[in-house]
């Protein structure tokens, strides 16, 4: 009678039988599996888990079966996610396409696009990257200039995208292009999907202050893109971009729930590098107290991620909470590394070589890396604008600002 309970039982049994034990352990960041044409597995268990979930259609459980999805109802999807959390199953793959672009194609794409683009995505065969930011269009995304000119049966794309994560390792890109240079800036933008093997595309990795990074700059030189790869209406891409960013926030929150083990646990590092309280100097005591307060703020953040998941499942409005997550996490990370640098003293200032332990070197890089976090994916200032406008509903200022 209670079919959802039957589904829960079946799902639990299936996961228990099919999710290898090694795929139920916390996942180090290096062991993420990225779907794509050349998906790489480090272990046989990773491959098995990937294949089994793929064959169930459970990479995208709530998509229609016709497009390669699992055909589950929202209720069943919630049960599947809950059961996966319960068993601590790792996500079988990370795929921006499924989490962000897929829902937009489902909503705005033509039937032909759905049949062409969604099934390979659902099988984890395509690795997607996102082409939004440009050198002169960062926080002010709508001022983007990369152009797509109508050339009959195709567009010709010229320009450049920057801060494209894994631009050099991805198979396809979804990108915002300017299709009407004369329209007001938010109205002349369209969304295209582009095969990264198209002639005229070059992706160059960007070195950061922290060293090598996954970010690329991607150059487009007379790249031909068939008209059928325009998603949604011509010049109507801004609406789709906003939808994508909303899916991004949802994906990030899902990602947050995966609870990647923190690489630098404040209190255990304090325990290792600071003298025990009994033999602490006043400065040590102050530092210990700072580190502890930081760990508490981190805890408040992770409890917030948990609360957001619960409130969402309970069908409550979480927009106010969701709006702070990126801001708080990235700012906390920056503050945390500053405290850790103080705790480790010069041990945290190594660049490379034998004089330092691997974790010490990693910490120095992570500190430098943390600066990017409050800039990428909507700077902290943009996040604050969004909270002020959308959550607190404060009045618009006179300058035309982002975050409406």
């Amino acid at each position: 009678m209670s079919t959802i309970e039957d589904f829960r039982r079946e799902t639990r049994a299936w996961l228990e039988a099919n999710c290898p034990p090694s795929m139920r352990t916390p996942m180090p960041e290096g062991e993420l599996v990225w779907g794509g044409r050349e998906v790489a597995f480090e272990t046989e268990d990773q491959r098995l888990w990937f294949a089994r979930m793929r064959d169930k259609g459970w990479f995208c459980p709530d998509w229609p079966v016709a497009y390669g999805g699992g055909g589950l109802t929202p209720e069943q999807t919630a049960v599947l996610e809950a059961e996966m959390r319960r068993l601590r199953c790792r996500p079988p793959q990370i795929n921006l396409g499924i989490w962000m672009l897929g829902p937009v194609i489902l909503e705005f794409g033509t039937e032909e696009q759905k049949r062409q683009l969604l099934p390979p995505m659902a099988r984890g065969e395509i690795r997607w990257c996102q082409g939004f930011s440009e050198p002169n269009a960062g926080s002010d995304l709508a001022s983007l200039k990369t152009g797509a000119v109508d050339a009959g049966d195709h567009f010709v794309v010229n320009g450049t995208k920057i801060w494209t994560s894994y631009g050099d390792k991805s198979d396809w890109m979804y990108m915002l292009v300017r299709t009407d240079p004369d329209a007001p800036k938010q109205q002349g933008i369209s969304l295209l999907v582009v095969d990264m093997r198209s002639p005229g595309i070059e992706a160059k990795p960007i070195d950061l202050i922290s060293g090598k990074s996954s970010f690329c700059q991607v150059f487009f030189d007379d790249v031909k893109v068939p008209k059928g790869q325009l998603i949604g209406p011509l010049d109507g891409g801004w609406t789709l971009a906003k939808a994508l960013l909303q899916h991004e926030r949802r994906a990030m929150s899902k990602f947050g729930e995966l609870s990647l083990p923190t690489r630098f646990d404040l209190l255990s590092i304090v325990g290792r590098y600071l003298p025990p309280p009994a033999s602490s100097s006043p400065a040590d005591v102050v530092l210990r107290q700072r580190a502890c307060a930081m760990a508490m703020d981190e805890m408040a953040y992770s409890l917030s991620a948990q609360r957001m998941g619960e409130e969402m499942r309970a069908g409550r409005d979480v927009s106010g909470l969701m709006s702070i997550m990126k801001l708080v996490h990235s700012e906390q990370e920056k503050d945390k590394f500053e405290v850790l640098l103080d705790v480790l003293g010069h041990r945290a200032l190594g660049w490379e070589g034998e004089a330092f332990e691997a974790q010490e070197l990693a910490l120095a890089r992570a500190w430098l890396g943390s600066f990017a976090q409050t800039i990428a994916g909507g700077s902290s200032e943009v996040q604050l604008n969004v909270i002020a406008k959308r959550v607190l509903e404060l009045p618009e200022g006179n300058a035309g600002r982002q975050g409406k």
Binding site: M296, D297, E310, I324, V391
Partner: protein, 384 residues
């Protein structure tokens, strides 16, 4: 451990909000202050609160309670905070009641639980002796003698100590101040010879008292729990109080933030609402962010109190997290609220000042931020 209110708990919160809006608006607290009410609360309101059953919420049915859990109680305290509503719910029911529930003998429970729940009597918890909260630092002496115990020393910052029928006095029966072992808890009638109570008029116009115990002789049956082993019960009772007070702080800072955001939308300078200035928008947005973090911490603290599966250290850590973060958010928000209200923010006419004062006192009560940060760290290290 769930971090959201259940439907029943939410219903209780809504009922509480409605009741307090009608019976205990902020204006009522202002009137109590202006009247100089010594007890700091309205006895008639307290009667109604008891009649609604709020005082029975946290206790098991065997003791005459509703067994509705601390999360339900937290939902009420959040609404109490929004209206700055004063009552002995925290002092007598949450703190006093917890000690009787956790350490009282059957006879003590029979004598006190029904009276506390029914509001017929009040108990106040006397812990602090120094300017800053330090439950292990108790120096007040308890010497055992033929008649029971002789108490000598003093207590301060005793919440709702004025007009209480009895005090739970934390005393040192062995060891030295700073040690957890050697602390004993005693139920001391307010009219015990040698006990002198004097009021402390504080910023928040609430009921606070100083107790001087000068050779107070009490019987052996006044002892709550085992002699010299009172710290754990005391700490568990304090944690209930800390989390409920954190919920009160959460409600106070939410009300203050709402009030301030509303002001930013309506106050016009330079021909525009001041809320259109980005300098103020970003600060207000940060207030919102800290308020959300505080809410998660408070919900976790409340859930931890109700979760029998947690070990004591984990529960204590979450209680400290809740009190610290709720105090932190309320502190930030109250400072911004005064500044953003400009000149009006420093006038007594606005309610902002009432919130500022209550929040500052509640921050210091049952352990300030520094106390709880240290405690969180020590509990974490002890665990590893």
């Amino acid at each position: 451990m769930s971090l959201v209110y259940s439907e029943e708990q939410q219903l209780l919160a809504d009922t509480a909000a409605e009741f307090l809006m009608a019976k205990s608006p902020v204006a009522a607290q202002r009137a109590l202050r202006d009247a100089g009410a010594a007890e700091g609360f309205d006895a008639a309101l307290w009667r109604e609160i008891v009649d609604m059953g709020w005082s029975a919420i946290p206790f098991p049915e065997s003791l005459g309670g509703l067994a509705f859990g601390c999360k339900g109680l937290g939902a009420v305290f959040e609404q109490i905070g929004r209206k700055l509503s004063a009552s002995p719910l925290l002092s007598s029911v949450v703190l006093g009641g917890a000690v009787i529930e956790l350490a009282g003998t059957e006879a003590q429970q029979a004598e006190w639980m029904a009276a506390l729940i029914g509001g017929g009597k009040r108990i106040a918890l006397a812990v602090d002796e120094q300017p800053r909260h330090d439950p292990a630092g108790i120096a007040l002496r308890a010497e055992s003698n033929a008649g029971g115990y002789l108490l000598n020393g003093s207590k301060t910052f005793v919440a709702d100590g004025i007009g209480a029928d009895a005090y739970v006095v934390a005393a040192r029966s062995a060891g030295r101040p700073g040690e957890r072992a050697g602390i004993s808890l005693f139920l001391v009638p307010a009219d015990a010879p040698g006990l002198r109570m004097s009021p402390m008029r504080m910023l928040d116009s609430r009921n606070h008292a100083v107790l001087a115990l000068d050779g107070v002789q009490i019987g052996a049956d006044a002892l709550l729990g085992a002699a010299g082993e009172g710290f754990d019960v005391l700490d568990a009772a304090l944690d209930r109080g800390r989390v409920c007070l954190a919920a009160e702080l959460l409600g106070a800072s939410q009300a203050l933030l709402d009030m301030t955001v509303e002001y930013l939308k309506t106050r016009v300078q330079f021909d525009v609402p001041i809320g259109s200035f980005q300098a103020l928008q970003h600060r207000a947005a940060w207030c919102h962010a800290h308020q959300e973090l505080a809410r998660s911490a408070v919900m976790a603290g409340l859930a931890a109190l109700d979760d029998p599966a947690l070990d004591g250290a984990a529960r204590a850590r979450l209680a400290s997290l809740a009190k610290w973060k709720a105090g932190d958010a309320a502190h930030r928000i109250s400072r911004e609220a005064v500044q953003m209200h400009g000149g009006m923010g420093v006038t007594d006419e606005l309610d902002v000042g009432l919130f500022l004062k209550r929040i500052r006192v509640a921050q210091a009560c049952l352990g300030d931020g520094d106390f709880h940060v240290q405690r969180y760290g020590e509990l974490g290290t002890a665990e590893d």
